[in-house]
């Protein structure tokens, strides 16, 4: 069916022009009435004699480039509105070049698409503006309250005046004094907090809110220490009267560097959220990428199944996309998602079907005439390569993304929607388990493997509970003489069948399952108990233990450490904590407050595997740390890799300038030892001196050393 028939049937409303070799445009559809509003056309030759639309005139500059390029390409002008006496025309122009010398300009009347897009975006943008307005009101109010509260303290302002000013606001305000007693509040705050009866009730409910949304005391202490405020949107699930969304601002007020008040501002944004959801899902369309949503995807998958033709289902997950949003902002994140969608769409072509089924998850259906595992695996790799190229972030430089892909094929991996999706999800899970940029095609064995991992997880839970793990100690020595200065505790696990499960197997399982907290508690107690045992042989020895990012962010971590120290009657100065640089990427401030508290009681803090993370000088200067442990990868290759020598020298120099100790990890040869000694590195750990050993063996070595 050609364009004339499509136009006649009302399927399209499109003007088509052929780009001629003499660089003129010839109108192929002169009967379309509005064609003469955008171009002047010679009635006999049908050649375009003038371009009447300013927008089109501008677009033709890009179109010329497309037509004059030797390769197949297509570009779009985007939507524009052409004024008209009656109804404005909504148009989109497309320039195409098939690469074989045939070039066209198509101008589509996109009134329906325009209306659809306008309706969808109208509500979405109204909500966006409302949300920004709420934030602005809170920021502005916060700013004014800061000033006026300082004036109250100085006796320049009247309390009554503030009370009157806040009573009529649409924002909830609660102001506490430095002792956390109610100073002022308003009606909106009491309504949001459902605190109608007493003042005490208001403060109680406020603290319940803070607790429920995890704005804990450490967090507040950190705001106070940094003299900074915090604002964010929280979901108060256990709110009296029913769960709701709140835009919340928490701000300390200072008088001569001393905390005088806490200001809490909140606006109920539940309606905005309800509206947002309906705006996003109203047409089963993802407004950001203009792709279909998860619901539409399932319906499409049903359709593909009914055809009984072979196809592959690819679930594409962008790794750690949350970090992109957190580090570069949601606008950049959204821009990147749109470009990911575009790249996937371009790669997969017209016969495929692409949808955005989650925040950072896309699903693709692609037809295959031959469905071998290697073919669909290669196709998955192709998708990955399409996303490998650098993304130019909106005004924020360049970045690369990592993706994991899970694949299933119809009919061999499932006969219905549920099975195909479940199996693709399982394959994706294994890709994630393997790391980044992995493509996994579903195999029945994956199910077995999943069962194995689940069993191992259950076994680990029991082993931790029944104290079946042990610790081994690896000495950290004086590089010049090999004498033990301190040691690192390492968890070891031999299961009931006597099989040794390596830490690089069970620790990731613990991390992924949440068992890391139980494992961390076990390690803490074991280390404290060991210190008690060692007190007879080395009363001042220090043991370092590894703490995961998730543990250090646990609000109860500090209390747990203090309780364990008290229970075993050891000194806090015998404990050292090792963390990796990555824990600072998220929740830096919270981590900093916890570390500062740990240091305050005498525990030292080391950065483990230093040099492999983001190694920011800014963080090193700001954070409370004592020691850097040079990652073993730099030490291992220093005899063959000059870069590693330079890096080690730089780390040692950096530590010296910042007054930090340095431990070289993984020292295995005399050559490495001598190089490190020449760089004034004092401490080391590695097989050249000792392997990790059971506690009794460590005690024996201490005795022998004496």
């Amino acid at each position: 069916m050609d364009i004339f028939q499509l136009n006649t049937l009302g399927i399209t409303d499109c003007v088509l022009y052929r780009y001629e070799k003499d660089k003129t445009l010839c109108c192929l559809t002169p009967t379309v009435s509005w064609a003469f509003k955008v171009t002047a056309i010679d009635e006999i030759s049908l050649n375009v004699t003038d371009v009447l639309s300013l927008f089109l005139e501008d677009f033709l500059l890009d179109a010329q480039q497309c037509w004059q390029s030797g390769s197949a390409s297509q570009i779009s002008s985007g939507f524009w509105t052409e004024a008209s006496e009656v109804t404005p025309l909504r148009l989109e122009a497309l320039a195409t070049n098939n690469g074989k010398g045939e070039c066209y300009l198509a101008i589509k009347n996109v009134s329906k698409e325009f209306d659809y897009r306008q309706q969808s975006l109208q509500s979405a943008r109204e909500l966006l503006i409302t949300h920004h307005a709420v934030i602005s009101q809170q920021d502005s109010l916060h700013d004014r309250l800061q000033k006026v509260l300082q004036e109250v303290e100085n006796g320049k302002s009247e309390l009554l005046a503030i009370r009157q000013a806040i009573q009529h606001l649409a924002t909830g305000v609660v102001i506490l004094n430095a002792q956390n007693e109610l100073f002022l509040d308003n009606g909106v705050a009491r309504q949001v907090l459902r605190a109608h009866s007493t003042q005490k009730n208001c403060v109680q409910n406020l603290f319940q809110l803070m607790k429920d949304v995890h704005v804990d005391t450490i967090f507040l202490a950190n705001l106070e220490e940094q003299q900074t405020s915090w604002r964010g949107e929280v979901f108060w699930q256990n709110a009296p009267g029913g769960s709701r969304w709140l835009q919340l601002t928490v701000a300390p007020v200072f008088q001569n560097e001393t905390l005088s008040h806490w200001v809490f501002l909140f606006t109920d944004t539940t309606t905005t959220h309800t509206g947002e959801n309906s705006a996003t899902t109203s047409a089963d369309k993802d407004l950001l990428t203009q792709l279909d949503s998860r619901q539409s995807f399932k319906r499409e998958l049903d359709k593909w199944l009914k055809t009984q033709q072979g196809f592959g289902l690819f679930i594409i997950d962008i790794s750690e996309f949350k970090r992109v949003n957190e580090n570069l902002g949601y606008r950049v994140g959204d821009e990147i998602l749109k470009r990911v969608a575009l790249r996937l769409d371009t790669f997969s072509g017209e016969k495929s079907y692409l949808a955005r089924i989650g925040g950072n998850e896309f699903a693709l259906l692609s037809p295959f005439s031959c469905l071998s595992d290697s073919i669909i695996h290669d196709y998955g790799r192709g998708l990955q390569v399409a996303l490998e190229d650098v993304f130019i972030a909106f005004g924020k430089g360049e970045m690369t993304l990592s993706v994991n892909i899970g694949v299933t094929a119809f009919p061999q991996h499932g006969a219905n929607t549920e099975d195909l999706l479940k199996n693709a999800g399982l394959a994706l899970q294994f890709s994630k388990y393997k790391g980044k940029n992995e493509v996994t095609v579903f195999r029945t064995q994956l199910k077995t493997k999943q069962v194995e991992l689940a069993n191992l997880e259950a076994e680990l839970a029991t082993a931790i509970k029944n104290n079946k793990l042990t610790i081994h100690l690896q000495p950290i020595v004086d590089l010049s003489c090999g004498d033990t200065l301190k040691c690192e505790a390492l968890a070891r696990w031999t299961n009931d069948e006597g099989k040794i499960i390596p830490p690089d197997v069970f620790i990731p399982i613990a991390e992924k399952s949440g068992l890391i907290f139980a494992l961390g508690d076990w390690l803490l107690h074991s280390v404290c108990q060991t210190l008690k045992e060692l007190s007879a042989y080395a009363p001042n020895i220090r043991i370092a233990m590894n703490i995961s990012g998730r543990q250090i962010c646990d609000p109860d971590f500090l209390t747990k450490v203090q309780d364990a120290i008290a229970y075993y009657g050891i000194s806090a100065s015998q404990l050292a904590i090792e963390i990796t640089e990555t824990v600072f990427i998220h929740r830096t401030n919270t981590v900093a407050v916890t570390l500062a508290s740990l240091r305050a009681i005498g525990i030292t803090i080391s950065i483990d595997d230093f040099g492999t993370g983001f190694s920011s000088l800014e963080y090193l200067k700001r954070l409370p740390i004592d020691e850097l442990k040079i990652d073993r990868s730099f030490v291992r290759d220093l005899s063959v890799n000059n870069d590693d020598k330079v890096i080690i020298k730089a780390i040692i120099g950096l530590a010296e300038n910042l007054g930090l100790n340095v431990v070289a990890e993984g020292v295995e040869s005399d050559e490495q030892q001598h190089f490190l000694l020449r760089q004034n590195c004092v401490m080391a750990q590695g097989y050249l001196f000792n392997r990790p050993m059971p506690v009794q063996q460590f005690i024996d070595s201490l005795i022998a050393q004496k």
Binding site: W80, A124, Y330
Partner: protein, 163 residues
């Protein structure tokens, strides 16, 4: 008559279309209707004894649903960054858009407009902070598309700068 292309850029909902409607037709509507794509309006402006026609490109607001497209600025004699004084965020976003536009068009005259001056300011930016940002532009105005305050003056100044 000389024609000059002027582009209006800014975040969503700051009042770009309202400024154009006020300038071209002298009308204002309280109803917010989001712009999709681009719409071009024309208006003749007299500068001394010269007349020129401004081709005002009203471009869809930049937000999470629509990115900034530098292509629209091609051939522009000037561009205007519009922000809204009732939303602090709009200033940050406006400056982001300005930075992106500057990357592609480092020498095109740029004007800074803080719109909705008829409404109470709800941002915490100090006068100094605003001044510092204004200083990066060829000219700056506080406007109200609703009352018409400074709208004519804005386009007159732009016309004088590009004539």
């Amino acid at each position: 008559m000389i024609q000059k292309k002027i582009c209006l850029l800014g975040p969503t909902g700051v009042g770009k279309t309202s400024l154009v409607r006020q300038f071209v037709d002298g009308i204002f509507s309280e109803k917010y209707l989001t712009t999709i794509g681009v719409k071009i309006d024309k208006k003749q402006v007299d500068i001394g004894d010269k007349s020129l026609q401004l081709l005002v490109w009203d471009i869809e607001g930049v937000d999470r649903y629509c990115g900034f497209n530098p292509r629209y600025l091609r051939g522009a004699a000037a561009f205007v960054i519009v922000v809204d004084q009732t939303r602090s965020q709009s200033l940050l976003e406006g400056m982001d858009i300005f930075a992106s536009a500057r990357e592609s068009y480092p020498n095109t005259p740029a004007f800074f407009v803080v719109n909705k001056s008829d409404l109470p300011s709800e941002w915490y930016w100090t006068k100094e902070e605003i001044k510092e940002r204004q200083s990066r532009f060829t000219g700056a105005f506080n406007t109200s598309a609703k009352t018409g305050e400074n709208v004519e003056a804005l386009f007159q100044m732009i016309a004088s700068a590009v004539v």
